[in-house]
Symmetry: C2
Subunit: 332 residues, 2 copies
Amino acid sequence: MNVKALIRTVNHTLKLHNLFPENSRILVACSGGPDSMALLHLLQDIATHRHTEYELGVAIVDHCIRPESKDEVLWLRNQVEILGLPFYTAIFDVPKLSKEQKLSEETIGRHVRYQWLTGIAQSEGYDYIAVAHHKDDQAESILAHLIRGTGLNGLTGMAVVSNDYTVPVVRPLLDVTKEELLLYLKEKDISYCIDSTNEDVRYQRNRIRHCIIPELKAINPIVIDAIVRLGASVREDISLISNLTDMAFDELVTISDEGAFISRRGLRKKPLSIQRRLWQRLVSIFDPEIKLTTAHQEQLLDIVNTGEGKTFNIKSIKVSAQCDTIKVYCKH
Amino acid sequence: MNVKALIRTVNHTLKLHNLFPENSRILVACSGGPDSMALLHLLQDIATHRHTEYELGVAIVDHCIRPESKDEVLWLRNQVEILGLPFYTAIFDVPKLSKEQKLSEETIGRHVRYQWLTGIAQSEGYDYIAVAHHKDDQAESILAHLIRGTGLNGLTGMAVVSNDYTVPVVRPLLDVTKEELLLYLKEKDISYCIDSTNEDVRYQRNRIRHCIIPELKAINPIVIDAIVRLGASVREDISLISNLTDMAFDELVTISDEGAFISRRGLRKKPLSIQRRLWQRLVSIFDPEIKLTTAHQEQLLDIVNTGEGKTFNIKSIKVSAQCDTIKVYCKH
């Protein structure tokens, strides 16, 4: 793929999601690594390609995980100055926070990074945060979910536009591979930093990248495409099932001060696929922390199918079935 | 898991599928290997456990792939004689057939084996063919589909009861692991043959078993369970989506001698997930060989969304859109 084709692909991805409107202000989350340097330059190329103007800003977090991170921030500041763009930076002692909060460096790092990025975007008036996840990252993310066993929802992968934060997070590179990005960087002679921890297979993501993906490619050389395509098709299916669950919920669930009420007979007529998701939605109203296990689901499906009176607890929730009515409420 | 627990698990799997009715005649497909020897003995144990009678028969195919296969057939004949059960055997020169028909030994082997098994089952009056696929096989099968990229349908894995053949094929061991089967064989002192090709990573399945699964287990030790659970949940979702596709098909498609007719407006209201599947079903009526690619699907979704007149071919099929009507018919 040559540079023009790459620009067209990224432009196509953005257009499909009505991105970016004229005069958008976009904060590019950059690490100085190849992916985010390619993103920064590609967004400039696309503005030229479209004869439009974006206002770009560049933000980098020093996570204090590697000794060289301080120098990388300085290097990036210099690069961004040459481009004449606004530059924002922050330092977080992620190893320390990780120990204090007993969470992995990856989890804490992601948390503080996005919190800070959305803060900067809001205070500096950016409409979007752009991040550099590409097609290989997408396949890795889907595989990670498959391996951890988080169910079908995890197989959808990352969305081009996520609205999980106060500022929309956009992933313009999801349709291009790492290899294409590296070719682009080479072709345009763009320099970048190399993150030494990318090779460390103690990190789960690197294990997937360096040990598992090559094995999968030995069986199917275009496995990345296959996995990403699966993710897209799962996303459509989930969207349909999720809408049907909403409809079933509105039809069957009555909520009062005493709790939620649902008819066994009504629920029994719904497909299992909907019943399971409806239960998850229902318990989440009372306790957003509850993630129903298969055992919980079986217990719930079971009281729908029998006509017996029965009461049991799922964590902080009480489920009580009498005649046709199942009542769900907080224990406290 | 002790022997009793294993028997209960297999019995539970069978009962969920109303298997096997009193006095069933079951033909056990056996290779002499650990899995199928465990299956044969477990089926006898379950008959005892249930105080019921099955009539078991044992069938083995010599695929002529390994020099020792002839001896294994003789060894199994002897074992089956001791058990006092009917024994059936056949020889197929799979390497020769594979070369002649330019298909892999695995594909040809499976084809001739099932053809012969169903033939024997029919002529000898067996109600079921039992095969020894277990939980690890199920996870491997799901992974194989994921890697080849056969879409969500492939992620359902193998069914406990398949009706793809003239005689139902039953997999009683899908809820137990290979490890549990080996413990059972050891505990009951049951001997078995070892297939030397099981270690050969030139075979795709062995690559998944010996190279990929261990890498996945390094990240999540219970990855087999995670994958199998995903398969079960996908099966429920697919069943729902498939029913909805049937309903949309009945509602929107009119078939006459001239071809099939469908309304753009009607189709446009359906979710993408249904539209894609409906198109696959529609073209399959005219040519069961057509497997729509993503590019074909995009082309079809596109003519639904535009109001333009347009005609194009997909292999042996012609698709022609005029005003609100899309007509699908055979080119010849």
